[in-house]
């Protein structure tokens, strides 16, 4: 309850005007008011005043949020609904224990040596394999692990995690900027080529790169599940690891990890655990998305892009858009010689993943995704590009379910390939 009490003032800023109805992906899919930001805030306020039950429906309502931040960006009073939802999930965990999935995530994340491969695989796949049935029936989960039947398409795991295949320090040219790279789970285990692309691009500019071995999962999955304790432990380790190298920038190639370092560490963890606040703000102030870093450092393409250009369309990850990063990736793609950028309709609309949202509300999640997939296909592009490996996984799934073989790439892969 402390988590909700702490947010009471934030909740009061919501005047129920309804503007969030135009922007909330979960609401636009379901058309029901408990899905929209102001509805969740109303429920949270009633929870705080002890006149709603802490039952499965309450949990389901709070789970039905992608934490995309779209409501806040378009809210006249800039109400931080994501923080309120996290607060409510934390209070729910306190009252009812963590939901099964969050428990699974947390157990794995607390594994003694952090992100061990086996544990990490289970964790990464959990959103895909643990699906909840029927929403109203509480927390029954089914997870016959090899059941990946029902048309789910899951990316294969990397044969070797990124972190175990690169040194901790890659010295650059004297005088060139220094960068600490926060890798994150998806890039470490599923898409190591994204990290390799970033290293190549930064080395091309002479940067010194630090890749601290002590880094962990960013903690956002645990945080969004309401497990603040686990995310605090992870954040502590990450802040220490990132802070152990004195560098000009901290860079992330995952929108969500970047969002955790840049926003959720100071805004949620820092408020809940004041002893973290100073370091959280220090790191947040240095954290940039890879596209912004490359733009600032004045990245220049090498090749001339002869031959047929690659037609790409760009999907805005919510956790970049919410930080105002929409122009940099597009400018970089336009700047890349062998690339032609074709805008899709609703590039700024969520892909529907929302971390564990995809599990709790699979139908809504894929309903949101169908609109996204259709918009991507209408562009006729050869590849869809994004700045978030989570989005990439969801976009791949959606495209394959529609029978499309379109390539899904990270912005950095496109730039490194040109």
């Amino acid at each position: 309850m402390d988590s909700l009490r702490r947010l009471e003032k934030e909740m009061k800023k919501c005047v129920r005007c309804g503007a969030c109805r135009a922007y909330c992906p979960a609401f636009l899919e379901t058309g029901r008011e408990p899905a929209v930001a102001r509805g969740k805030i109303a429920v949270a306020q009633h929870l705080l005043h002890q006149d709603l039950p802490w039952d499965g429906l309450t949990r389901e309502i709070m789970a039905n949020c992608l934490l995309c931040g779209n409501c806040t960006m378009n809210c006249p009073n800039e109400v931080a609904t994501d923080e309120i939802v996290i607060g409510a999930r934390e209070a729910l965990a306190e009252k009812r224990g963590l939901p099964f999935l969050a428990r699974a995530v947390s157990t794995v994340l607390r594994f003694p040596r952090g992100m061990r491969l086996g544990a990490a695989i289970a964790y990464l796949l959990s959103p895909l394999v643990f699906r909840k049935i029927p929403a109203t029936s509480g927390l029954r989960l089914r997870f016959p692990v090899p059941f990946l039947g029902n048309n789910r398409h899951i990316p294969p795991l990397a044969s070797k995690p990124f972190l175990s295949s690169c040194p901790e320090v890659l010295p650059g040219k004297p005088g060139a900027p220094s960068v600490v790279f926060f890798v994150g789970c998806m890039n470490n285990f599923v898409y190591p080529q994204i990290g390799e692309a970033l290293l190549a691009l930064l080395q091309g500019m002479g940067c010194t790169i630090f890749i601290p071995k002590g880094q962990q999962c960013c903690g956002l999955p645990a945080l969004s599940g309401g497990d603040l304790e686990t995310s605090r432990r992870l954040a502590e380790k990450n802040l220490a690891a990132l802070g152990s190298f004195s560098a000009d920038f901290v860079v992330s190639a995952c929108a969500s990890c970047g969002g955790a370092l840049h926003k959720f560490y100071p805004a949620v963890l820092g408020k809940a655990f004041p002893e973290l606040q100073g370091q959280a703000e220090h790191i947040a102030g240095k954290t940039l998305d890879a596209s912004t870093l490359l733009t600032r450092l004045g990245w220049q393409p090498r090749g001339s892009g002869s031959g047929e250009p690659l037609a790409v369309t760009y999907h805005d990850p919510c956790h970049l858009r919410a930080r105002g990063v929409t122009k940099d990736p597009r400018d970089l793609l336009k700047h890349a010689p062998g690339v032609k950028l074709v805008e899709m309709e609703g590039a700024d609309r969520c892909c529907g993943l929302g971390g564990t949202f995809n599990v709790h509300h699979y139908e809504t999640s894929m309903g949101i995704n169908r609109g996204k997939t259709a918009a991507i296909l209408r562009t006729g592009a050869q590849a869809v590009v994004s700045g978030c490996p989570g989005c990439m996984m969801q976009l791949s799934d959606g495209l394959k379910q529609q029978g499309s073989a379109m390539r899904v790439m990270h912005t950095l892969e496109v730039l490194a390939n040109e």
């Binding site: 129920r16 309804g18 109805r21 135009a22 008011e33 408990p34 509805g39 109303a42 709603l52």
Partner: protein, 471 residues
């Protein structure tokens, strides 16, 4: 409270998935933008007029109240289920049925979001002008029921000026069609206009036929900054007297500008005491000429700066000033009374002076902005409800502002309606004879008072509903 049998019958009409009774759900259909809250007993999402009719027939038979609701974005509580009952949400009926480019009409269902409709008609080179601030999320059914306005009302009018015909489910469950799709029509009473702004008390709108216009070729956005409030206020009537009807003529007073500048730093000079955002639309040549005419007309009126947007991003910058008002107001105080008085345009300078006097007398912050072009001013009294006595002072200030408004030949509400929020003030404007007639009309439509009861007219103490001080 609804009994179990009634709930079963409602499920029989709309299906289990479209009836909500869990307390968490009820909480989410008990509010609107007034921030008042009343919990309903159930929420139904009917799919079509047939289901709406069946619900209302049941309500009449079993005597439970039904509260129609669109997006729930109203400012006066028109959709709130005060006293409990069934909230009937219209948003599943959300199809644009046809856009007729030969006759410039369109037929829509009530749950269509206003902006979506505008985008669709604009794709065909047509234009639906009403533009309430909530257009990105409010529904057309709600816009008609509340007779929503918006900045473009100066030139084009409000929602009712575009409604040609309706399909309405009456409180007894009968389905009628009013008006039609002809521009002329004098057969019987104009029930279409009666339904516009009836706040969901006379029937539930299930189809709307709108009149459309050709989309103007271009528009021009101007920011005019004045060194005095009088200059801006006089500019409004000067422009109109100069035979130019702009599309919009938005006004912001000094406290509003200060709020916006403090928060957003939009580069408004510190000498600004008021500003107007002026937009003209039409043929390219015409609007060039008109913007020069406007400059000439208002130059003598303490004009500090006259900024004409050269392209869309510059126009966007100007509108950002207006859109920044709402988020920045709460820096003054956390709570607000948002009134939407209207006076004849020529009385704007006078009413602003009176509001200033009221503000000094009661010592409550008041910020004024809004659609000065049609005399509609949003008077925002910013208070902190935690401060003892402040709410009371605000109430008294509002009463005085309303009195001044009426003395100037104005009206209490231009586009928000009465609902629950303005009931205490209704009798200041409306005589007992007129109110009695209106109540008779309500009874003729809804003898059992099942549809949106308790709205518009104060129900308590029929004989003397208001203390004499209000009359």
């Amino acid at each position: 409270m609804l009994n179990k049998g009634t709930i079963e019958k409602l499920i029989g009409i709309v299906g289990q998935a479209n009836l909500l009774t869990a307390r968490q759900d009820l909480v989410c259909y008990g509010y609107d933008a007034t921030q008042m809250e009343f919990l309903p007993d159930a929420v139904v999402h009917p799919a079509d007029p047939g289901e709406v009719a069946a619900i209302l027939r049941l309500a009449n038979a079993e005597k439970f109240p039904v509260f129609p609701r669109g997006a729930g974005s109203g400012f006066t509580g028109g959709s709130l289920p005060k006293g409990g009952g069934v909230v009937l949400v219209t948003t599943r009926m959300n199809r644009i049925l046809r856009i007729d480019t030969d006759n410039l009409v369109a037929e829509v269902e009530p749950g269509v979001v206003t902006e979506k409709f505008q985008q669709e008609v604009e794709k065909l080179g047509l234009f639906y002008p009403p533009d309430p601030a909530s257009l990105k999320f409010s529904t057309l059914g709600g816009n008609v029921a509340e007779c929503a306005g918006g900045p473009r009302a100066v030139k084009y009018g409000v929602t009712k000026d575009f409604v040609m015909g309706l399909e309405v489910v009456l409180p007894n469950g009968d389905i009628i069609r009013t008006g039609g799709e002809t521009y002329k029509g004098v057969v019987g009473y104009d029930l279409t206009k009666l339904m516009c702004g009836s706040e969901g008390t006379l029937g539930i709108i299930t189809k709307i036929i709108f009149r459309l216009l050709p989309l103007p070729e271009a528009k021009k956005t101007i920011l005019a900054i004045f060194g005095s409030i009088d200059g801006a206020a006089k500019a409004v009537s000067t422009i109109i007297r100069g035979k130019i009807i702009p599309t919009t003529l938005e006004f912001m007073d000094h406290p509003t500008i200060q709020c916006v500048e403090r928060r957003f730093h939009l580069g408004i000079p510190s000498t600004a005491r008021a500003l107007l955002i002026i937009e003209v639309d039409g043929d390219r040549d015409l609007i060039e000429k008109q913007s020069e005419q406007i400059r000439a007309l208002i130059s003598p009126l303490d004009l500090v700066e006259f900024r004409v947007a050269r392209d869309a991003p510059e126009a966007e910058q100007i509108w950002k000033v207006r859109r920044s008002v709402s988020p920045s107001l709460r820096d003054v105080n956390p709570d607000k009374y948002n009134e939407d008085i209207v006076v004849p345009r020529s009385k704007i300078p006078e009413i602003l002076r009176q509001i200033e006097a009221v503000q000094k007398k009661y010592d409550v912050p008041i910020v004024n902005f809004g659609h000065a072009g049609d005399g509609n001013i949003h008077v925002n009294i910013m208070i902190d409800k935690q401060v003892i006595g402040m709410e009371q002072k605000a109430q008294e200030a509002i009463r005085e502002i309303f009195r001044a408004t009426l003395n100037a030949g104005g009206t209490l509400s231009g586009e928000h309606g009465i609902g629950l929020a303005k009931q205490p003030f209704l009798a200041m404007e409306m005589g007992p004879e007129q109110m009695a007639l209106m109540k008779t009309i309500k009874r003729a439509f809804d003898p059992h008072n099942i549809l949106n009861p308790g709205k518009i007219f104060p129900e308590a103490n029929e004989a003397a509903p208001f203390p004499p001080s209000l009359r």
